[in-house]
Symmetry: C2
Subunit: 384 residues, 2 copies
């Protein structure tokens, strides 16, 4: 039976191989420290759990509208106003099954077959694959520590072609944890808009910043797509809930697409998320952010002492993207050694693009301080 070219082209997550190996080792009784995982180790905040439980007690778990629960869209709109002084009307907000759903909608609404999307290399692997899924072509912009792994106006000008549909950026970025400043983002937007392109800003790690206030593109622009998620800052990964802010011009088609792609996002998750913006929840989340900041302050110098190079300090998300070329000429080999010899799981650069992937490892600080310290000790013994 036929496999589509899309299905053949789309790449799996390489880290899955490693995760499989980690689980095998765990099944053999080995203790594995997980620093490959892109989800917070914290449980979902209790007020969110409680809101879900209260809702479920009623038993009426029916579909919401395709764009989501009106109260939740209003709550997000209010959150933008109160936290970021950004005016984002609720009707431009689509609640989606995770940020994955939001990315699918934005790409499906804008991409014709053969259209090119510019996006930084390294970047989140799904982005390239979802572009491929809708018959677009991902055109990587190789980025380096000198621009904090973020694309610049120069990158965009140099790479733009008549087939270019738009630019995707992420701030904070996965895998690098680096941010775009408002002025950098504004400059990128203007390059894109003057070419009648689309800009997708991934703010999935919004809220998780250290030593700098978190921000949103929407404070300064409303003609872009913004992708966000309840997964990371709000601690709701497994619920699969995110949102898309669409430009006014695309709201109606986004609604149509959402009807057919998803019918709607999960209703219990939507009711649970209503509690995400309550003051006591936000207090818990800020305490977690402080904990992430401490972990980062432990891990970064620890790794550097071992010879991991981190030329540009990450200011967001919960990742360190380290150059390991002084330690090994292939980060995948190194990752294998780390898991086999030290029981420490990390993600090799291979998953994030083709620009020097074998020089880099992504290390997530989604585990406790105690375990991070132990991980650094274990890596030290491997590197001897």
């Amino acid at each position: 039976m036929h496999l589509s070219r899309r299905a053949l082209d789309i790449q799996p997550f390489h880290v899955m191989e490693l995760l499989r190996r980690a689980r095998e080792l765990e099944a053999e009784g080995r203790d594995i420290i997980h620093m490959e995982v892109g989800e917070p180790d914290f449980p979902t905040p209790q007020p969110i759990i409680d809101a879900a439980t209260r809702f479920l007690a009623g038993g009426d778990v029916h579909y919401t509208g395709a764009m989501g629960l009106p109260q939740l869209r209003e709550a997000i709109s209010r959150f933008y106003r109160e936290r970021f002084s950004a005016e984002v009307p609720a009707h431009r907000i689509a609640i989606t099954p995770g940020a994955s759903g939001a990315l699918m909608l934005a790409l499906a609404a804008t991409t014709d077959p053969g259209d090119e999307w510019l996006l930084p290399d390294p970047s989140y692997p799904c982005n390239r694959q979802l572009i491929r899924a809708f018959e677009g072509i991902a055109k990587p912009l190789p980025v380096d520590p000198d621009t904090r792994f973020q694309p610049t106006s120069d990158h965009v000008r140099a790479a733009w072609s008549p087939r270019t549909r738009g630019l995707m950026v992420a701030t904070p970025s996965n895998p690098t944890g680096t941010l775009l400043s408002q002025s950098e983002l504004t400059a990128l937007r203007s390059e894109v808009i003057q070419r009648k392109g689309a800009l997708i800003v991934d703010e999935i790690y919004q809220g998780l910043t250290y030593g700098v206030e978190s921000s949103t593109a929407l404070s300064h622009m409303d003609d872009v797509f913004v992708v966000n998620s309840f997964s990371k800052y709000f601690g709701m990964t497994g619920w699969r809930l995110g949102w898309l802010v669409a430009p006014e011009s695309h709201v109606r088609v986004i609604e149509k697409l959402a009807q057919h792609f998803f019918i709607a996002a999960s209703t219990p998750a939507q009711h649970a998320a209503l509690a995400a913006f309550e003051p006591r929840t936000l207090d818990m989340l800020e305490a977690r952010r402080a904990e992430f900041a401490e972990r980062r302050a432990t891990l970064l110098p620890g790794l550097r002492k071992l010879g991991f190079e981190v030329a540009t300090e990450p200011q967001g998300a919960f990742y360190i993207y380290a150059d390991v070329s002084k330690l090994c000429d292939d980060s995948e080999t190194l990752a294998r050694r780390f898991i086999e010899e030290a029981g420490v799981a990390t993600t090799p650069g291979l998953d994030f693009g083709e620009h020097h992937p074998r020089r880099f490892l992504r290390i997530a600080y989604t585990t406790s301080q105690r375990r991070l310290i132990e991980a650094v000790e274990r890596l030290a013994s491997v590197l001897g």
Copy 2:
């Protein structure tokens, strides 16, 4: 900013217009009887709610693997064995965000741009739109009461072209509620497979049959895609949980696609669904099926007395697809009259295809006996 051709081509659900009008009327204080809705009016069964609540008490709502919770995949495999004597190994079962997710995976894995899919007209509107989303072409097979609105080998032979990728069928069907027998399905499969095509069997309404045992294609074939859902029979619409059974040849690409499209289905929903196959849940569901059967036994003669023609009796789902050409020459006009003059919401044929859509109305018996009786009385007064 550019709108993709896909976004422009994809049609909204027409019924949404009507639903909006129904809500306006309700806001004005009018009592509306909802017979347009494609979801059971029953709440989620208590054992399923309880399983979710127990799971949430732990707070650890993390991602599952892309193919879903192993225990749930095993439970579905067991269900196939125990209920249908079908051997479906768990590794071929992907848990998805609703049947929508399952359909997306099956289509993305098989469809190249320009590929044609045959599907009955009338049929579930999303199918056509999802084919379009992946740059395929939906090629309708006009079906009539003489084949119980189901396609036959003759239809497939006549419509198959070098560009045809496969055939989608549904049993029970939405909007017609009619079934395919195992011998009809086997004949369709053989037409498709001998042309090296793919067959997608939508079993979303499996379990909801009246006067006939429910069945699965998987008892007789394993080289097809089967789409199923926890929404309808299991009463879990708002949870957004379904599954795809893939042929062995496609399991690996389905997993890759699922990683990128969804990461995974909702974790609380997956834990909740573990209780769906418990004997006491199944007892409740069978009682609901009996209630649906009684409603059907009330509504069908009631509508016929008013001049609705139902040439082929629906044996499944919870829909009656009635020919209203004796009452009005446009079912959309009639639906508007029904809602405005009688406060009864129904779905005009327009949503389901282009084959005589203005002759048909879909009427769902997703409301109580008492309300169905009242609805028939109200329609009688409109039709005078």
